[in-house]
């Protein structure tokens, strides 16, 4: 039997009872969507439609509509891909790694964070998909399926193929993990619908809950499954960004060919992911009045993770520079010198300011417990992490080996459109999730109500 201390930090404020949890969380699902929800959803749809137009133009005319040239063959597409994958990492960290460490503050934020993971990975996967030019042939090209060229099999030595497996496994395992958590909560909504006499809703949520009844035996198996899934997801999430970093690290391009990349990318991923979780949750808690469940204490803990991972990223930046000098390889040295002082100096220093300098403000308790400051700094971190990927990718290749090939990258409207497409997709999914699914894991929060709820 698990023994836990009775002295616990308050994780749920407002003197909530177990029944209050059901009511407060299910209310969003049962009520009509509010006007602010429609407005936000509408804006997301507009972005999605404009983005879909960009995608259509790309599919119709080919990858030439993007600003890529023969020197800079990878730019915004892979920058955005890595950025979105990175954002996804916080969800798995919260739900799997914090579960293994028995951190109970994860319970009121894991649902939304995992949803964010799933939507972010969909957005990420769209970039390599569209970059292939013929999206519909993607599966045929990327998976080891028998084909009429031999069969000529896919190249299992390529990190790009590892990425296909890593991202698709990550997506499907995260989806299963998230859905497992939703099953008991769908049953709550079903039974509330039965009580209210909404039988159609009850039937839909019953199907979604797979006929859940909450039997002790099922709970026992359920907990066992959750623990193993957490154990599987933990190395999985670390492997995913490691493999993403292999896309660069296994090449021989100066600036990419760096052994520090795997841990550096994973830390950066968690860093940007927590910033996005904060951005989404600060809005969600306000709109859905969940201040008692997502407290300042939760925000502060997430900010502490941001400062830790941000500092790891900062150390990695400095280490890269040190090794470039210490290694005494001219091309390598130039790549880094050019990064900080060349034509892309502004991107480099934006990255440094946003990722290394500004998060240090979270050392002050006043700042990390202030919601507005958190919201602004989280947005800055997300901008900084986008610049990090842009800097790594574009500054390393825009100065080719022959000075006659030196060039710059200029995004076209379709590069921008493709990025906007993913924002539209992400927020459309997120708002649908927030309306139709319980945004907080009710079963888990109920299990800690007795020990961590603020007493009246």
């Amino acid at each position: 039997m698990q023994v836990t201390s009775t002295l616990r930090e308050t994780l749920v404020t407002g003197g909530k009872s177990v029944a209050d949890v059901s009511h407060d969380i299910s209310r969003q699902v049962e009520g009509k969507p509010t006007r602010s929800w429609w407005a936000a959803f509408g804006i997301s749809l507009v972005l999605l439609v404009f983005g879909a137009y960009s995608c259509w133009m790309l599919l119709w005319h080919g990858v030439g509509v993007w600003g890529l040239n023969k020197t800079v063959g990878w730019a915004w597409d892979i920058t955005n891909f890595v950025w979105w994958v990175g954002i996804g990492h916080a969800g798995t960290l919260i739900s799997a790694i914090l579960l293994l460490f028995r951190q109970r503050w994860r319970m009121s934020i894991n649902r939304a964070a995992e949803a964010m993971t799933i939507f972010a990975v969909i957005c990420a996967a769209s970039f390599p998909g569209f970059h292939m030019g013929r999206l519909w042939l993607g599966f045929y090209w990327a998976l080891p399926l028998p084909n009429t060229f031999g069969s000529l099999w896919v190249n299992f030595n390529s990190p790009l193929l590892w990425d296909v497996f890593a991202i698709s496994t990550y997506f499907s395992v995260s989806l299963v993990f998230w859905y497992m958590g939703l099953i008991p909560d769908f049953a709550v909504i079903r039974d509330r619908a039965v009580k209210m006499g909404h039988m159609t809703r009850a039937r839909i949520y019953n199907a979604l809950s797979f006929g859940w009844d909450g039997a002790a035996k099922t709970w026992m198996r359920y907990e066992s499954v959750a623990l193993i899934l957490a154990g599987l997801s933990t190395p999985l999430v670390l492997s995913v960004h490691t493999i993403v970093s292999f896309d660069f690290a296994t090449s021989v391009i100066p600036g990419w060919h760096t052994t520090i990349f795997p841990p550096y990318f994973v830390a950066g991923a968690i860093f940007s992911g927590f910033a996005m979780v904060l951005t989404l949750l600060l809005v969600t808690r306000k709109v859905f009045k969940l201040e008692d469940y997502i407290t300042i204490y939760h925000v502060e803990l997430m900010n502490i993770i941001i400062i830790i991972t941000g500092s790891i990223v900062g150390v990695a930046y400095i280490t890269e520079f040190f090794i470039a000098w210490y290694g005494q390889v001219d091309a390598e040295y130039y790549a880094f010198y050019n990064r900080a002082t060349g034509p892309y100096w502004w991107a480099y220093w934006s990255m440094m300011t946003c990722n290394v300098i500004s998060p240090q403000l979270f050392w002050f308790k006043k700042i990390r417990t202030n919601l507005m400051a958190t919201f602004i700094l989280a947005a800055i971190v997300n901008i900084g992490m986008w610049f990090e990927r842009f800097v790594i990718i574009v500054t390393s290749i825009h100065r080719d080996y022959l000075p006659s090939s030196w060039t710059m990258f200029h995004p076209t409207i379709y590069d921008i459109g493709q990025y906007i497409f993913t924002f539209g997709l992400f927020f459309t999914f997120f708002f649908l999730f927030a309306k139709f699914f319980p945004v907080i894991n009710m079963a888990e929060v109920k299990s800690i109500i007795k020990s961590t709820s603020e007493k009246k």
Binding site: Q2, F156, T169, A187, D191, G211, A215, W219, S224
Partner: protein, 174 residues
């Protein structure tokens, strides 16, 4: 309906009272059919005398299947079916096959285990569960005792339940 089943359903409000009650009631020789809770209660499975779940074994077996399948597929495809020299390495060079092998292991393990969970727990979208009390997904713990499988009389069990801390004791027949 072949034969009617009669149940005594005890409603508990607090998980610690419930745990003590389960111990006490089982000691008195009353058979508890099942307890339904809105959230997992730690120690309840042991109190009810359930054996530890064997799902981790299923996860391991599915995972091993994934490892073997992924590794042998890659070795066969690149090493034997269409050997190619890539980067001057051996045809079937093991280290680059590890990432895909790992991912496939995780994939099969997770899906296999969750699939097994759905099957053994009899969870399916078209099933409407038989709830003894609808509050069991909201805030009450519901203990179902099948009178047919108990020797003690209804009144005796009802007294035991009330003494153990049940808020309500209801009779249900199906």
């Amino acid at each position: 309906m072949s034969e009617q089943k009669n149940y005594l359903v005890g409603i508990f409000n607090d998980e610690d009272v419930l745990l003590d009650a389960v111990h006490g009631i089982r000691e008195k020789g009353v058979k508890i059919e099942e307890v339904y809770s809105p959230f997992p209660v730690h120690g309840l499975d042991e109190a009810l005398g359930y054996r530890r779940s064997r799902l981790p074994i299923a996860a391991f077996l599915f995972g091993m299947t994934g490892t073997i399948l992924a590794l042998s597929t890659q070795i066969w495809m690149l090493g034997f079916d269409w050997p190619m020299i890539i980067g001057g390495k051996n045809h079937a060079s093991i280290p680059p096959f590890i990432p895909v092998t790992f991912e496939f292991t995780v994939l099969l393990s997770a899906f296999g285990m969750v699939g097994t969970f759905f099957i053994v727990s009899d969870l399916k979208p078209y099933k409407w569960p038989k709830l003894h009390d609808i509050r069991c997904t909201d805030d009450k713990h519901v203990m179902a005792i099948n009178l047919g499988s108990n020797k003690l009389s209804k009144n005796d069990i009802s007294d035991i339940l009330k003494k153990a801390g049940a808020e309500e004791v209801n009779e249900k027949s199906y």
